[in-house]
């Protein structure tokens, strides 16, 4: 289940989707909007996507995770539009027989999302706004 949505993401829905009788472990990652970034007071993040390609890339990450680790199921939902402080912008859930595979595949997914999936965040901060990752010569801010 790999989706780009405009509405708030339902964590339990993703976890229910990956729940599996052969799985002893589920790892999840939730990215939330933080109230500060590089000294700026953040008001909200506003996400934009190339939705059709983003969902395709998310599914590709799922396939790659399945090849690299022994996992049962993966689900990723990325939200677009404005995401307020403390709200989730992305949730990843992965189930596996053993916890090591679940953790590693989950970590892999978020790292890949930040590298290849056509989604962009504009940071709205006190005093302005900026597309993260496109400041000239500046590396992408970590989260």
């Amino acid at each position: 289940m790999f989706r780009v949505v405009r509405e708030p993401i339902n964590l339990q829905e993703l976890v229910t989707y990956v729940t599996h009788p052969s799985a002893g472990a589920i790892a999840t990652f939730i990215g939330t909007t933080r109230n500060n970034n590089e000294g700026r007071k953040v008001i909200a993040l506003d996400y934009e996507a190339y939705p059709e390609m983003a969902e395709k890339e998310l599914a590709r990450i799922g396939e790659e995770a399945k090849r690299n680790w022994k996992i049962e199921r993966m689900a990723i939902t990325h939200r677009i539009g404005p995401v307020q402080i403390t709200e989730p912008s992305v949730i990843i859930a992965v189930s596996a027989a053993h916890r090591d595979d679940a953790f590693q595949a989950c970590r892999f997914a978020i790292e890949e999302i930040k590298k290849t999936v056509p989604i962009w965040k504009k940071e709205v901060f006190e005093g302005g706004e900026v597309w993260i990752g496109t400041q000239t010569g500046q590396p992408l801010a970590g989260r």
């Binding site: 996400y47 390609m53 962009w120 496109t134 000239t136």
Partner: protein, 81 residues
């Protein structure tokens, strides 16, 4: 031939439009299309970021040859998550 072009995020703002149909000569590559677009939308010209190119929702190299009705996206540095 007719190509569907998509701009996102900072490129969409610079172009002032999210999607356009562009007529380009047969045999054009993604790099040729990008050059033509920069002529038409001068604000796209500054090369201040690493761009990726997608044709029909797959990443390609700039020398990728285009076909009639391809959907081409110019992808500024992604920052999802």
């Amino acid at each position: 031939m007719k190509i569907k072009v998509k701009f996102f995020a900072i490129l969409r703002e610079r172009a002032g439009v999210g999607e356009v149909t562009k007529e380009i000569p047969e045999g054009s590559t993604v790099a040729d299309l990008w050059q033509a677009l920069k002529n038409e939308y001068p604000k796209l010209a500054p090369v201040d970021m690493r761009l990726l190119y997608a044709v029909n929702r797959n990443y390609v190299n700039p020398d990728h040859a285009l076909k009639e009705r391809d959907e081409v996206a110019f992808v500024p540095p992604v920052s999802g998550g």
